[in-house]
Symmetry: C2
Subunit: 108 residues, 2 copies
DNA sequence: TTTATTTATTGCAATATTACGATTAATATT
DNA sequence: AATATTAATCGTAATATTGCAATAAATAAA
């Protein structure tokens, strides 16, 4: 079917999964790496740097924007894509919180 | 095309993405939640608890095993699935390291 | 206003993922 | 040995994702 049954999971489970899913593509990791390295950027630079077609980069940027980890400000003909520091921290904390659940030792 | 161009990304970018991708489905988050809560479990319990068909759970377990975050030990007719504590920590550290790159404030 | 420049959107082909019924494999129990 | 129990695998349908060419939209520059 290819259709995730979101309704049988908790909101937290769906949220963690949604965040992880967006991070689950090397192009999007590369985009974040690049933006973090530069502290600011425009889409054109990403196309040159990463080596995927412009529509593909645009699509990945859209998904990153969807979870709020980056934000874009229009500057003339180009768009300045930046990390949303607050949202980034929030996402980091949420993932960390989930990964910290496994505090005590396990059986085997 | 549906085919990720892994060869144009760094090994680290591919690795982070692969880890995140596995965490990018609520069923797998729910499975981890359940195993962590119980400290040990068998597949049958998961099927009852989560509400997906047995082959579906089995498939998700396989993907979690693929990145090493869980391990399964055969016990008679059933399999005891547990968190691989070392691998879990490793994964946590890798994600954290990536998410800690964004240390300084950004432009906008 | 025309022409560039830059990013978004549309449409589509190829591949991947999700989910499950049916079946298989492997061990326990009777 | 026959039967139950449990999990893996196979096959398949439905949907999602990835990537790109073509095009549109929006602003800047001439």
């Amino acid at each position: 079917m290819g259709l995730t049954k979101s309704e049988i999971f908790t909101e937290e489970q769906n949220e963690i999964a949604a965040i992880a899913k967006v991070l689950g593509h090397p192009a999007r990791i590369a985009i974040l790496d690049f933006i973090i390295k530069l502290k600011s950027c425009v889409c054109g630079d990403l196309v040159k740097d990463i080596g995927l077609a412009q529509p593909t980069i645009s699509q990945h940027l859209k998904e990153l924007k969807k979870v709020g980890i980056i934000k874009g400000t229009i500057e003339g003909t180009s768009v300045c894509y930046c990390i949303d520091d607050n949202k980034f921290k929030e996402i980091k904390n949420k993932l960390n919180k989930f990964l910290s659940k496994n505090a005590t030792e396990n059986c085997c």
